[in-house]
């Protein structure tokens, strides 16, 4: 059993504010790991720190056994790719889908671009008719499919998913979650997924970490949530809240 992503006492500080306080974590190869918490819990910061988008002030990150330095090189991005929350903000508005997908291939010197773009679009369930559209001509779900295609086109082994479905309608969310599960199975990917929705996380992940205020609250197996086998009150509150409104409570 190999560890795909290992994080040790990671600390992220913005000016004086400590966004992430010494969080450690190991994700096995092929595993799907979830990070749950409310806004400000540091769950996204953790993901962004791995991707090189947040200033790491202490601790270490290892990807597939290799220690990461201050900057990320091309080799890193061919192993690790990220899908962001807002499909409206994460695609270039003046590039066609074709151009969006071509860019990572060009940067990484992949040949055979024609076939790869075609295959990437097929894989996420968008036909070739979408290839020369702009992102504003797509729905939210279609955009997120493009974002997933763009992440997958470099054939990474780890996918960082930052609330990939929270901007989508429930029915579209189901489609995108199914797609993510499908590609994970097909490509034996490792997922690290951030969400505020306990339902989504238990559906997608085998293990998860509950976070609050930049710290780990507790670590659970997905089954623990179903059986209410949780130790901390904070997690229990989240569980109650996820069930909806109760009058007179």
């Amino acid at each position: 059993m190999t560890v795909a992503l290992s994080i040790d006492k990671l600390r992220v500080v913005y000016d004086e504010f400590v966004a992430l306080k010494d969080v450690s974590l190991a994700v096995r190869q092929g595993e799907s790991f979830g990070l749950v918490g409310e806004s400000g819990s540091g769950k996204s910061t953790l993901l962004r720190a791995v991707a090189g988008l947040a200033p790491v002030s202490a601790g270490s990150i290892d990807v597939n056994g290799q220690r990461l330095g201050k900057t990320r090189d091309k080799a890193f991005y061919s192993q690790v790719q990220m899908v962001f929350q807002d499909p409206y903000g994460s695609l270039h508005p003046r590039q066609t889908v074709d151009r969006l997908l071509l860019e990572p291939l060009a940067i990484h010197g992949f040949g055979d671009t024609e076939k790869r773009i075609q295959r990437a679009l097929d894989e996420v369930g968008l036909g070739s008719s979408f290839r020369f559209r702009y992102s504003h001509q797509l729905s939210g779900g279609q955009r997120q499919r493009v974002a997933i295609a763009r992440a997958l086109i470099l054939e990474p082994s780890i996918l960082l998913l930052d609330e990939p479905t929270s901007a989508l309608d429930a029915s579209v969310q189901a489609e995108v979650l199914n797609l993510l599960e499908q590609v994970r199975r097909d490509r034996k990917l490792t997922f690290v997924m951030v969400s505020h929705d306990l339902g989504v996380i238990t559906h997608m992940c085998e293990r998860l970490m509950v976070m609050q205020g930049g710290e780990e609250v507790e670590r659970l197996e997905a089954g623990d949530l179903a059986t209410r086998n949780v130790a901390r009150d904070y997690t229990r509150n989240l569980l109650v809240a996820s069930e909806g409104f109760v009058r007179g409570a």
Binding site: E38, S39, G140, D169, A170, S171, V172, Q173, A174, E175, L177, N178, E181, Q182, H196, D197, L198, G199, V200, T202, H203, M204, L225, A226, T227, N237, L238, L239, A241, S242, G244, F245, V246, R247, A249
Partner: protein, 277 residues
């Protein structure tokens, strides 16, 4: 129960380059002193329905209805001035994100006072008193401090409480809440709903709760209208949600991942073209 709001065959259309887009296509319902949920996905026309009642439909859109009446007033015939008089006073609306719907350059207190003084003849001191009371009513612990803060200085939950305070201060009879908690964390969401719930009951208001979250709406409202592509596909009692008949409603209920349910892959909506008819 006499209805305070009657909507019959409401239609909202937007002219676009490619022709008319029908956002709302013949919606009919009435509302008494109850909590009505309107549920649907983006583009289903649920928000446009709320906005049409509120009189916030963009100028270039066409609204028509056989009947659009609020407590006997024909909303399609009244002048803009009368409409403005109703808005905020007798009919109020809570919007989704306090970050965008509060005035960023005005303190929270001033915004609340402004609402009150627009509709009621009260002195500045009295208005301030009332605003502070209202802030306390939405369970803001230190009303005097929050009164003087700008919207960017408060959290999302606090901002949303301030918005509720602002909307309720003139004592509206009808409150339209358009995704009032969608931008908030789940635990904060429940606090806000609890506040909204008790105030609506206390003051005997009618409430239209617009949301994409069928499950949440069904736990909060008495009655739920499900919209799809500008039409009502189903209307049911919130307590009988599990007996929903329309495949769209059933699909919406089913496609949510649930804790403890092991369903891989998740059932997805199979959209039938006949739903559009």
């Amino acid at each position: 129960m006499s209805a305070m709001l009657n909507v019959e065959d409401l239609r909202v259309e937007f002219p676009t380059r490619t022709g008319m887009v029908q956002a709302v296509r013949g919606v009919t319902f009435s509302l008494g002193q109850e909590r009505l949920g309107i549920v649907g996905e983006s583009g289903s026309g649920k928000s446009q329905t709320g906005r049409a009642i509120m009189g916030l439909t963009p100028q270039h859109a066409h609204i028509s209805a056989k009947r659009l009446e609020f407590s006997g007033i024909d909303l399609l015939k009244v002048s803009q001035a009368q409409r403005r008089d109703l808005r905020g006073n007798r009919v109020a609306m809570i919007l989704q994100d306090p970050k965008y719907s509060l005035d960023p350059v005005m303190t929270i207190g001033r915004q609340i006072v402004e609402t009150l003084r627009t509709h009621e003849k009260v002195s500045k001191a009295e208005a301030r008193e009332k605003a502070l009371d209202m802030l306390a009513a939405v369970q803001i612990r230190d009303p005097a401090r929050v009164f003087g803060l700008y919207p960017h200085e408060v959290s999302g939950g606090m901002g949303q409480r301030a918005m509720i305070a602002m909307m309720l201060i003139a004592g509206p009879e009808l409150l339209i809440a358009d995704e009032p908690t969608s931008a908030l964390d789940v635990t904060v969401q429940l606090d806000i709903l609890r506040i909204l719930d008790s105030l609506v009951i206390e003051r005997g208001m009618g409430l239209i709760f617009i949301s994409h979250d069928l499950r949440l709406v069904s736990t909060f409202c008495d009655r739920v209208i499900v919209m799809y592509a500008g039409k009502i596909v189903e209307e049911l009692k919130a307590s009988e949600l599990s007996q929903a008949k329309h495949p769209y409603t059933q699909g919406l209920l089913n496609c949510m991942p649930r804790i403890g349910a092991d369903r891989h892959p998740l059932p997805v909506l199979d959209r039938k073209p006949e739903w559009l008819l």
